[in-house]
Symmetry: C2
Subunit: 387 residues, 2 copies
C-alpha cells in the first residue's frame, strides 16, 4: 500500500531538519526514469495562496500538465511569506530537478506547517540531494511518513484496476494541524491517461471526496491534491479508472476525518429529501460544521433539536413540519416533532465510534453526505498554541 | 437599571416549575395600565421557527404593532413541538390576557430552553396568575432573572434620553445555552414612537448590535428582540432616540458576548480596507467564527497566520500582498508577511480579557466590527450533554 505500487514510480522520505527532533520532514514522489508524465492537480480556493501552490500551478501551466516529481516538506507551510517564499518554492523545485535530472518546471511542490514563517533553506539545500539519492521503489512508506504533522498515523490507499493501479498518500484534514494549514494528497497511477482527462477526473473525484469532509470548516492556504500517471500499464477503461480514482480519494479523505484532531467520532451526516443534491449538501455541511452538534456527538447525546435548528438555518428549502432525524437508523424526530423510539438501542448506538446522522427534509429527491468529526477537549488542547 | 425604568411599565419574575430546583423561569413585562402601546420585534431568520416566534409575529400583525405585555419562559424553547406547541404559546398569551385584562393578541410570547420537548402546561397554568398579580414598577430585576438559562449573570441596560429613557433586559448569545436555542431581549421606552418607526429603528439597531456578535455561529429557533414604547414621556428627538436605542442594543449584545459559554476573552474583530462595509463585515465574521482563531485566542497565541487564512477564504476581495494584522494595536503582519514587533508588549496584550484583533485588507474604505468570544474547554463541557 504505497504511492510506488503503480509501475514507474519511486519515492523517499527523510529528516532534513525543518522539524525539531529529527522527525521526517522532506518527501519525494518521482517517476522511476525521471521523465515527465501526465499530471494534474486541484488546489485550495483560499486567496491567501501559499507559495508552493502558486509555483505548482505555474509549473503545470508551463508544461501543459506534465511532471516528473513532487517534492513535499512538513513543518513549515511557506505561506504568507511573500516573494521570498516564492523564491524558496522555486528553489526546492530546482534542487530536485538538479539531483533527479529533469527540468525545474517538471517538479511540483507542496508545503505544510506553520504559516507566516520563512522556510528555512539550509536544511532543504542539504536535504534534497539526500532525498533524491535515496529514492526507491519501496520508498512509498517513507514518503507518506515525512508529510505528516499532527497526524497520528500514515494515510495511504491502494485501488487495483484491470492491470493498472491507483495509489495515494495524504496528510491532514482541512486545518487539521494546529501549527499550520493543510491537507495534502499525492496520487499515482500507471494507467495511461491524457493530462486533460486526468485533470477533469481528478476534479470530479476531489469534489466527491476531499470536498465532502469537514473538521473545522477551515479552507487552508496550502490544500493540494496531485496525481501523476506514468502510463506504464497502458490504457485503462475510462469508467473503471474513474471509479478507482474516486475510491482512492474517498479512502484518503475518510482516513483524514478518522484521524482528525482530537476526534472521538466519525460522523456521516446524510441529508435526503432536499429540493436538490446541492441543497442537500449545503444542509449536511451546515449540520456537520455545527459546534453544538459536534459537542453533542462528543457527549454521546442524540440532541436532534440542534440538528433541526441547523437545517432550518442552512439557507435551503425547509419545512419544519416535514423534517425527520435519525441516529444510526433510530428515528428520534418525525414530521418535526419528537417521536417514540428505543432509548436503549439509541444509547448503545451513540457509544460507537462511527455514527450515521440522517435527516430527511421531505421536500424532494436531493441527497448528499458530508463526513465530519466531533468537537472535543483534545481539539481545543491541540489548537490553543503553536508551540 | 431595569425594563421598568421608563415610565409606564411593570414587570415580574417567578419560579413556576418548568426548571428544576425552584429557579425563576417565568417572566413578564407589561404596561402599567394593561393598555396596548406601540410595539415592534425582530425575529430569528431560522426556518425552524419556534412556536412563540410564530405566535408573536402573528399577534403583531393582527394588532398593527401594538402590545400590552410580553410573557417569557425559560427552561423549554417550545421549538420543534408542532401544533401542540403553537397551542401552548397561544395559551400562554390567553392566560396573561385574562389575568392582566387585555386581549390575547395584545400579548407577545418568548421561550428559551430545550428544543423538541413539549412545554409543560401545568406549571404555566398555575404560574401566570401569580406572575401577573405580582407585577410591579420595581419588578424589572426579577423579570431579568427569570429569563436566564446558562447565563451567569443578569443582562440589563439603561440609556437616558432627554426626558425619556430606553431600557432593556436580555439573555444568552446565539446558541449560548447548552440546553436550548436562544437569545432573547425585551426593550422598553417611554418615548412616544409610532409603531412603523419603532419597527424600522429596531431593525436598524439590531443589525448593528445583536447581529454583529457571534459565539458559535448558531442562529437559533427562538431569537427574538421586542420593544414596547409607552409614550408616557412624550415625543423624542428622532436622532437622539435612534442613538439611544442603538446604545441599548449594543450594551445588551456586549453583555451577552462577555457572558458567552465558557469564554475567557471578548474579542473585537475589526476589518478595515475592504472594498465595502458589507465585505468587511463578511471578512470579520469569518475570522470571528473561526474555530482555530478562537482556540488561539484562548491560548493567548497571536497566531496571525490563521487570521490571514480566514480572510483569504472569506469570499471577499483579498490581496495577500496587501493585508496587515494587528493585536491590540501591535502590528504583527504587514503587506502579507511577518513584521518586527515588540513581543513583550504583545504577550502582555494577549493576557487581557478584551482584545482588539484588527486586519486591514488594503483595498478600499469598507470597515466593520464583529464581537466574538474564544473557544474553550468550558464551552465543550457545557455543550456536551443536555443533562
Amino acid at each position: 500500500m504505497s504511492v510506488t505500487a503503480p509501475k514507474g514510480f519511486v519515492a523517499n522520505g527523510v529528516a532534513c531538519g525543518i522539524k525539531p527532533g529529527g522527525r521526517p520532514d522532506l518527501s519525494l514522489v518521482a517517476t522511476a526514469d525521471a521523465r515527465p508524465v501526465a499530471a494534474a492537480a486541484v488546489f485550495t480556493t483560499n486567496l491567501a495562496t501559499a507559495a508552493p501552490v502558486q509555483v505548482s500551478r505555474r509549473h503545470l501551466a508551463v508544461t501543459g500538465g506534465r511532471a516528473a516529481a513532487v517534492v513535499l516538506n512538513s513543518g513549515n507551510a511557506n505561506a504568507a511569506t511573500g516573494s521570498v517564499g516564492l523564491a524558496a518554492s522555486e528553489r526546492m523545485c530546482a534542487l530536485v530537478a538538479e539531483s533527479l535530472g529533469c527540468r525545474p518546471d517538471e517538479v511540483l511542490v507542496c508545503s505544510t506547517g506553520l504559516i507566516g514563517i520563512p522556510l528555512p533553506m539550509a536544511p532543504i539545500e542539504g536535504g534534497v540531494p539526500v532525498l533524491v539519492a535515496g529514492r526507491a521503489a519501496d520508498g512509498g512508506t517513507r514518503a507518506a511518513e515525512a508529510i505528516l504533522t499532527t497526524d497520528t498515523c500514515r494515510k495511504e490507499v491502494l485501488v487495483p484496476g484491470d492491470g493498472w493501479t491507483v495509489a495515494g498518500m495524504a496528510k491532514g484534514a482541512a486545518m487539521l494541524d494546529p501549527n499550520m494549514a493543510t491537507m495534502l494528497a499525492v496520487l499515482t497511477t500507471d494507467a495511461d491517461v491524457d493530462p486533460a482527462v486526468l485533470r477533469d477526473e481528478l476534479a470530479a473525484a476531489v469534489a466527491a471526496s476531499f470536498n465532502r469532509i469537514t473538521v473545522d470548516g477551515a479552507t487552508s492556504t496550502n490544500d493540494t491534491v496531485i496525481i501523476l500517471a506514468s502510463g506504464a500499464a497502458g490504457a485503462a477503461d475510462p469508467t473503471a479508472f474513474r471509479t478507482a480514482l474516486h475510491e482512492a480519494c474517498a479512502g484518503l479523505a475518510l482516513q483524514m476525518v478518522a484521524d482528525a484532531e482530537g476526534a472521538t467520532k466519525l460522523v456521516r451526516v446524510q441529508v435526503a429529501g432536499a429540493r436538490s443534491d446541492a441543497e442537500a449538501a449545503a444542509a449536511a455541511r451546515k449540520v456537520a460544521s455545527s459546534l453544538l452538534v459536534k459537542c453533542s456527538l462528543y457527549g454521546k447525546d442524540p440532541y436532534w433539536g440542534r440538528v433541526v435548528s441547523e437545517l432550518g438555518s442552512a439557507g435551503v428549502g425547509f419545512d419544519p413540519d416535514l423534517v425527520s432525524v435519525a441516529y444510526g437508523g433510530v428515528e428520534v424526530c418525525r414530521e418535526g416533532v419528537a417521536c417514540e423510539h428505543d432509548s436503549a438501542a439509541l444509547d448503545a448506538l451513540m457509544e460507537r465510534r462511527e455514527i450515521v446522522l440522517a435527516a430527511d427534509l421531505g421536500l424532494g429527491n436531493g441527497s448528499a453526505e458530508i463526513v465530519s468529526a466531533d468537537l472535543t477537549h483534545a481539539y481545543v488542547d491541540e489548537n490553543m498554541t503553536t508551540s
